[in-house]
């Protein structure tokens, strides 16, 4: 429409910049979590994730090697080595030997510690500790350094949370439990709803309008009302807490939207095709299976995505109908809530766990967004 309006270029630029800002604002939270899930616990707690792209400067307390590694050279006792761990790259900008003055020396300087010897530290962490008398004691000399490390990312968090069988807080079991809940809970309501939607769209019978109104009404009934009565019912008939219960519950709660979406779509299918088929002697069952169902694929896909996202992301229904006292059947959302409680400050665990659970819906979202949008429009725009 901007072309018709002959919009001035100044305004177009303002629009472009606003959209960039809006998108950045909306992406920023997710990106933060994503980046954090690739950082170590130390990195996360020492600097904000936005700083992780740049080299970071940190104050650290390191130690020289302990005195048993000393060697005798030219009449002096010498300890040499590197302050940093084996595969770490960092650059020292200042260092000191006392906690009161941690920036006393520059790389290459030599600190005279009196009877403790003379220490020289290079920028890359190499040090040389020299003394006339033999070093004693069991631990090395403390060195306070200010070091700049290059950005560093790790896959360890994902290895711990997904592929470490000994990790009781891992997400593997919860991941498969969620999958077990989601697949039947997505497929079964589609089958039931498709038949009902066909009847409501293409068959004439008394009470049809009333039924459609009832479906519209049930669409908004809060599922909170259903928790206690249904849990009582499940316990009374012996289903108890478990997969069967949660499948049934998700089926029941998903049906109104399924029927509503599918009926709205089926009503819009061309009347001629269906009537021609009737004239040719097809039964309703045949019309449904051979004509309506294939033509309704977009609507079926829309609902399937909705139901998938909703069941995958659900917490309440799973807590009430599925997860029993043993916690064997915990789903990912519940696992994350528990980690939030017990590991509130361990962001490397939380971020990784959350991202494991978010990844699948995000993939589905980006792959099948078209159908999701179509379903949303059919469901709400009238």
């Amino acid at each position: 429409m901007s072309s018709i309006a002959g919009t001035k270029s100044g305004l177009t630029w303002a629009v472009q910049i606003s959209v960039v800002a809006l998108v950045a604002l909306w992406l920023f939270p997710t990106v933060g979590l994503f980046v954090s899930s690739f950082r170590t616990a130390d990195q996360i707690s020492s600097s904000g994730w936005w700083a992780s792209m740049l080299p970071s400067e940190r104050n650290e307390t390191l130690r020289t090697a302990n005195p048993d590694t000393q060697v005798r050279e030219d009449g002096l006792w010498v300890i040499r080595g590197n302050l940093f761990e084996a595969d770490r790259e960092a650059t020292i900008s200042t260092w000191g030997t006392s906690s009161r003055d941690i920036a006393a020396y520059k790389p290459g300087d030599t600190a005279d510690m009196g009877e403790d010897g003379r220490l020289t530290v290079q920028a890359d962490g190499d040090y040389l500790l020299v003394n006339e008398t033999e070093f004693s004691g069991r631990r090395g000399e403390r060195v306070f350094v200010t070091a700049t490390s290059p950005p560093e990312f790790t896959l360890d968090n994902y290895r711990d949370m997904l592929f470490d069988p000994s990790n009781r807080e891992g997400m593997t079991r919860a991941f498969f439990n969620t999958l077990t809940v989601v697949i039947p809970a997505t497929i079964i309501p589609i089958v039931i709803a498709a038949f009902a939607a066909y009847a409501l769209a293409w068959m004439r019978f008394p009470g049809r309008a009333l039924l459609i109104a009832a479906v519209v009404a049930l669409l908004v009934v809060p599922l909170q009302l259903a928790l206690i009565p249904l849990l009582k019912l499940h316990l009374a008939v012996g289903i108890g807490k478990g997969y069967l219960g949660v499948w049934l519950a998700h089926t029941g709660f998903g049906l109104p939207l399924a029927i509503y979406l599918l009926r709205n779509y089926m009503v819009g299918l061309p009347r001629d095709i269906i009537e021609n088929a009737r004239v040719d002697g097809a039964t309703d069952f045949q019309i449904f299976v051979k004509i309506i169902l294939p033509l309704s694929f977009p609507a079926l896909a829309s609902f399937a995505i909705f139901q998938f996202l909703w069941t995958w992301n659900d917490l309440l229904v799973a807590m009430v109908f599925l997860i029993d006292a043993t916690g064997e059947t915990t789903v990912m959302t519940k696992q994350i809530v528990e980690l939030l409680g017990t590991r509130g400050g361990n962001w490397e665990i939380l971020a990784t766990a959350a991202f494991v659970s978010i990844a699948v819906p995000l993939a589905v979202f980006f792959a099948l967004q078209r159908y999701l949008v179509r379903g949303l429009l059919a469901g709400s725009v009238k």
Partner: protein, 413 residues
């Protein structure tokens, strides 16, 4: 049994059972009960066709009745009985007990705040995003990023935002964005601009919008134009209520403008955002706004595209500027869709549970009805009061339910 195997069997039994049921019952109807042959062929076909819809509908009606219809009645019954007295009828005692609990009123107050803020802000942002992205070449990419949070679970979003709200002691680097930004304010002119003027301006805009709503709602009551169709009997009270609510909201917004301009801010000290009463509720609402804006944007963008070009061209020929085109031509034409978006988000807000449960669990005065209900049902094991609060949620949903059904029926006729 292995749950995955159990799941596979359930899919096969469920899907196979459904299809088998539909096929066999249709066969039974056509071949055995009312065969399309013999002396009564015509009558039989008619009868079979009368019964068939119910065969198609039966599983759905059964499941809907059992999983949504029955619970409404049963919850209503439970809210009138006491579990500890073996389910004896106690009248409205549960409601009285609930009304005497400060936590319940806290939940009600917060829910009302959620109901005002989240739909308004999400719809406004959605409209803004829809209008802006429709005008640029890479609009679809931008849309899909803004829409993306829809796929993220409330629990995942809670983790994401807890990281943003994280607090470290004052002498350490902040790892939460909000505190990092907060520490950049020191009380100078920048702080005045961003922490006082900007919020005040936003709230004032909202107040002006509400004033416009009052005007729209009351105009027909004061000056009845001739030739207008007679309004329904309920239009007058509805308009009065809407007007009163809007006036009340204006009053609230003016009050908050005053407090924003005069409040003392703790500059330079990292805040534990989720423990600051009142503000923490707003921080929780941000999460839901973040999720729902994409939904509002998608629907409103489709509506904006559906506006007839001629109306806009006519406005341009008449010399309207882009803002006039947007507010005077486009917005009135998509008012119906805005209402649909608003009510849909309202429904989500009424049921909001996961966010509060995962982030604060109702502590520090952030309780909402759904979480209060969960507390009562599964922690206190008080089914009476829990059911009563579920009924309160149902009652709050009821106006939207009636409105939806009314619209659906109007459209079908």
């Amino acid at each position: 049994m292995n749950p995955a195997l159990q799941g596979l069997i359930t899919i096969i039994v469920g899907v196979g059972g459904c299809i088998g049921y539909f096929y066999l019952s249709n066969q039974f109807l056509d071949k055995v009960l009312f065969p399309a042959r013999g002396r009564h062929i015509g009558r039989n076909i008619n009868r079979a066709n009368m019964i068939r819809p119910w065969l198609f509908l039966f599983p759905a009606i059964f499941a809907l009745g059992l999983y949504l219809g029955y619970p409404v009645i049963e919850t209503l019954r439970l809210s009138l009985t006491d579990r500890s007295l073996d389910g004896a009828f106690v009248g409205l005692d549960n409601y009285a007990q609930m009304a005497s609990e400060p936590k319940f009123w806290e939940a009600m107050r917060n829910n009302m705040l959620w109901l005002i803020v989240v739909p308004a802000v999400a719809t406004a942002f959605g409209l803004l995003a829809a209008q802006l992205t429709d005008r640029i070449a890479w609009g679809n990419v931008a849309k899909s990023f803004i829409f993306m949070p829809m796929a993220i679970s409330f629990v995942g979003a809670a983790v994401i935002f807890k990281l943003i709200y994280d607090t470290r002691p004052a002498n350490q680097d902040q790892i939460g964005v909000l505190n990092a930004v907060w520490l950049m304010f020191e009380g100078g002119p920048g702080s005045f601009l961003f922490l006082r003027l900007l919020p005040a301006a936003i709230v004032l805009c909202f107040a002006l919008l509400m004033a416009y709503v009052v005007y729209l709602a009351l105009k027909p009551l004061i000056r009845r134009e001739t030739g207008q169709a007679r309004a329904s009997w309920w239009a007058v009270p509805l308009r009065l209520t809407a007007g009163l609510v809007a006036v009340w909201l204006i009053w609230l917004s003016l009050g908050s403008v005053h407090s924003v301009m005069t409040a003392e801010f703790a500059y330079g000290a990292p805040q534990t955002w989720l423990t600051l009463p009142f503000w923490n509720s707003l921080f929780l609402m941000v999460v839901l706004v973040w999720i729902q804006t994409g939904f509002a944007m998608v629907i409103l963008s489709a509506a904006l595209r559906g506006i007839p070009e001629e109306t806009i061209e006519a406005a341009i020929l008449d010399g309207a500027n882009p803002f006039q085109i947007f507010f005077k031509i486009k917005v009135p034409q998509i008012m119906g869709t805005i209402v649909v978006v608003w009510t849909t988000i309202t429904l989500v807000v009424l049921k909001v549970f996961d966010i509060v449960f995962a982030m604060t669990n109702g502590q520090w005065e952030t309780q909402v009805l759904a979480n209060y209900m969960y507390d009562k049902l599964f922690r206190a094991n008080d089914w009476g009061v829990g059911s009563a609060s579920a009924i309160v949620i149902m009652v709050l949903v009821l106006p939207i339910l009636v409105w939806n059904v009314y619209n659906a029926r109007k459209e079908m006729n």
